[in-house]
């Protein structure tokens, strides 16, 4: 009994399609077989261009490919909690220490710091400009000038909230239509600020790379309270057995080693250094 020609032909086509698709995906999987680790980091760090500089150096030194998934700090830590990353590299010290305390991370290491700036319309209607972040924020709140906040659980957002509090401003009470919560990353928030001539707190790295400035310029900078420290944490293999412990540890070790620190320092935008390495002297790896 013969299989009807059309049925036979269609089955062959279907099998060919399945084979082609599988071959394609296998090829990608094979490419992945050279060791790689997944690093959960933040959008601001990626958008600063740091990883394009630093990751090739890491690969050359260790042969390991570091794949960065860039989200907000909160999401990055959640990724670590779920075990979807091997290493987290974010900038919210309090959240990172909580992460370790809860058992999701092995140990936090200081890596580098950059700084935040307050940007706003060049004309500065609220008269916020200067070197004092508290004074600047007070002026903005008093003038009820439009302010764009990330409001997205990010390290930047956490820092912003801390600065409002330190300036003595109770956002829940004083928040009004002037305070715009975009719920998005640094870039989109800057796009929004640029579009509505609003003030915003931004990390210097994203700002230097940002092309859509409109009327905005840096108004407040240099306050030491605006420094923004980064930490790197290996996701705890005790919680997630599949975590690439050795390779992940190599990343942590390298990033705080003299070689890694030098790579970080050499990243510049328009000749300006963005990140300042500050790892403590290198310690033996945690077992």
């Amino acid at each position: 009994m013969s299989i009807p020609g059309t049925l036979g032909r269609l089955s062959l086509a279907g099998m060919a399609a399945a084979t082609a698709t599988s071959a394609l995906l296998a090829a990608h999987a094979a490419q992945a077989q050279g060791t790689f680790i997944t690093v959960a980091s933040t959008t601001s760090t990626e958008q600063s261009g740091l990883f394009k500089e630093v990751l090739p150096a890491f690969r050359a030194a260790t042969g390991i490919e570091a794949r960065v998934v860039a989200l907000g700090t909160g999401q990055a830590l959640d990724m670590g909690r779920r075990g979807d990353a091997d290493v987290v590299f974010v900038h919210d010290k309090a959240a990172e220490e909580k992460f370790v305390a809860e058992g999701f991370g092995v140990k936090r290491f200081e890596v580098m710091y950059n700084d935040f700036v307050i940007v706003g319309p060049k004309a500065d209607p609220a008269k916020a400009a200067g070197k004092d972040v508290s004074a600047g924020l007070k002026a903005i709140a008093a003038a009820k000038a439009p302010f764009a906040s990330r409001a997205d659980k990010s390290g930047t957002h956490a820092a912003e909230l801390r600065h409002w509090k330190a300036a003595g401003i109770d956002l829940d009470r004083d928040k009004g239509p002037w305070y715009r919560e975009t719920g998005s990353g640094m870039g989109p928030t800057l796009n929004t600020a640029s579009g509505m001539n609003a003030y915003a707190l931004a990390d210097r790295g994203t700002w230097l790379n940002f092309r859509n400035r409109g009327e905005l310029a840096i108004l407040v900078e240099g306050d030491s309270r605006l420094f923004n420290p980064y930490g790197v944490v290996l996701v705890n293999p005790a919680k997630h057995a599949h975590v690439k412990r050795r390779a992940g540890q190599k990343f942590v070790d390298w990033v705080i080693s003299p070689a890694g620190q030098a790579a970080i320092a050499s990243h510049r935008i328009n000749g300006e250094q963005l990140f300042f390495p500050n790892a403590k002297p290198w310690l033996p790896p945690v077992e």
Binding site: M1, S2, P4, G5, T6
Partner: protein, 235 residues
């Protein structure tokens, strides 16, 4: 009353209700082997529905359709339905779904095309053929299956006289080989030419089953008489 003889196809108390309309109404009809039956009747009498029900395309609402001898069936419709393939491939498809493999399939399909005089257009897409050619192709396709009975529902209604004559020739040829023919038509001349018995339908019932030459001289039922005299109103 003659005693029961072995029949080919018998409908008893057959009723078919479609969309609230009773198309076939407690119809009784017995068809013997080896004849050429033409079903006549006014529009709406139920001829098409009857053929489709006998062929198994429509399920009866009540009553039975019984086959005295199981035979392979085929049907040709008023408008031929062809797949987007060549003429030869359309016949090949019908053979394939009926379990005929290569190399017989191509040979039988080519033979069928030759019988209806379409060998020259074997590789043409079936759908670009003329109406008459497509209907001949449909007949070739049905004939290739070597059916024991062939139903035809107004096979020449959409064709011009030349094509009609061609089709009638093929039907006669198929009948001559022993295939039972059951056909409907509006064309009384065609019925005279092809039939050896007439089944007359009126309002979903079979009023008579009469040898053709007798029917046209002296039909048995008053409804058929009125029909032949052209006095039957449209339904």
């Amino acid at each position: 009353m003659a005693e029961r003889r072995p029949f080919l196809l018998e409908a008893r108390g057959l009723s078919v209700v479609l969309g609230g309309v009773t198309a076939i109404d407690r119809l009784d009809l017995t068809l013997q082997p080896g004849r050429r039956t033409v079903v006549l009747g006014a529009n709406g009498a139920g001829k098409s529905v009857l053929l489709r029900t006998l062929h198994g395309l429509i399920a009866p609402t009540a009553g039975t359709v019984a086959w005295g001898v199981p035979v392979k069936q085929a049907m040709v419709f008023q408008r031929p339905v062809m797949l987007h393939r060549t003429a030869l491939a359309n016949i090949g498809y019908a053979l394939a779904v009926n379990g005929i493999g290569e190399p017989d399939r191509t040979r039988l399909a080519s033979d069928a095309l030759a019988r209806v005089g379409l060998s020259t257009i074997a590789d043409r897409p079936a759908r670009v053929l003329s109406g008459g050619e497509q209907q001949r192709l449909a007949l070739a396709r049905a004939w290739a299956l070597k059916p024991g009975i062939l139903f035809l529902d107004e096979p020449t209604a959409s064709l011009d006289p030349g094509a009609t004559a061609e089709i009638e020739r093929v039907i006669a040829s198929i009948a001559a080989e022993g295939t039972r023919i059951v056909m409907t038509t509006h064309n009384l001349g065609q019925a005279r030419r092809l039939a050896d018995e007439i089944a007359f339908l009126d309002a979903g019932r079979a009023t008579e089953l009469t040898p053709a030459d007798r029917f046209f001289e002296e039909p048995r039922s008053p409804e058929a008489t009125r029909f032949l005299e052209g006095e039957l109103p449209w339904k």
